[in-house]
Symmetry: C2
């Protein structure tokens, strides 16, 4: 009665520190030497077959790490599950803990950082078919930094020793 | 700079036992005296404006409670965040703990139960525009019960004293 392929596709057991049974950690992005992010891994937990279907990913940001500051047409729903972090969304900086829910609207600038001395892990819901991110120009970064809270958030910082 | 409405829409702070700040617990389903479910509440955390957008809900099942045994065209992605539960998906019964990920495919029979003496809470991702559930006929229930594991799962049971 059991179809093993079907079974694997419908269920991923969480194992704690090592993630989910049978789910590999992937590079966050493909680009070599991309300086826009730091210490980020990615796992794909669900990916539906249809273009407008759901994809559920898990991202883990190491101590001192961050995702790329970017915006795009597609939206994110973000749910932290491990450690503590912070997210820039549009003109807000929000502290994040487990089970908070953040919605990143279409074309909102956003970036996620690990906070403190532990990795920060979060689930992220997107649509399967989605546009490529747009990165800020030098001028857009200067405009964002007019807000002191955002300037503090996006500045390069030292990794904890 | 802050638009409170926008802010509320993008961020829901998790408060633990009482759920999320500003998010009300709703009835699981509208029908009065519906015997198909027991001790279930629902919260809506994210609901996008487009029909093929994402909706993120939280369901909490009290001790001895269960959702409706049903199937439909739309899919679910289920992520437990509180307590322990079990889910019937198609012909499998799976034990669930925090951060496990379950995908309920299109037209798969499914039902969720709380296990043990604490409420079971889980996030559930669906599309905004979705079809109404189909309930099993008496004959379909008999067919499901040919599998002893499923028969055990779906039988009515006493609430813990």
């Amino acid at each position: 009665m059991t179809n093993p392929v079907f079974f694997q596709e419908i269920f991923s057991r969480y194992l704690g520190e090592s993630g989910w049974h049978g789910v590999d950690a992937l590079a966050y992005k493909d680009e070599d030497g991309n300086p826009s992010f730091k210490h980020v891994t990615r796992m794909k937990l669900v990916a539906e077959g249809s273009p407008d279907g759901t994809e559920l990913r898990y991202f883990e940001i190491g101590v001192g790490g961050h995702t790329t500051l970017e915006k795009h047409e597609h939206t994110h729903t973000v749910i932290p599950i491990k450690g503590e972090g912070a997210i820039l969304v549009e003109d807000r900086v929000l502290e994040l803990k487990t089970n908070d829910v953040v919605y990143v609207p279409t074309w909102a600038w956003h970036q996620v950082r690990a906070v403190g001395n532990e990795p920060f892990g979060f689930l992220c819901i997107v649509k399967v078919e989605r546009d490529r991110p747009t990165l800020p120009t030098a001028q857009e970064i200067e405009e964002l930094k007019l807000n002191p809270e955002i300037a503090q958030f996006i500045k390069p910082r030292a990794v904890n020793p």
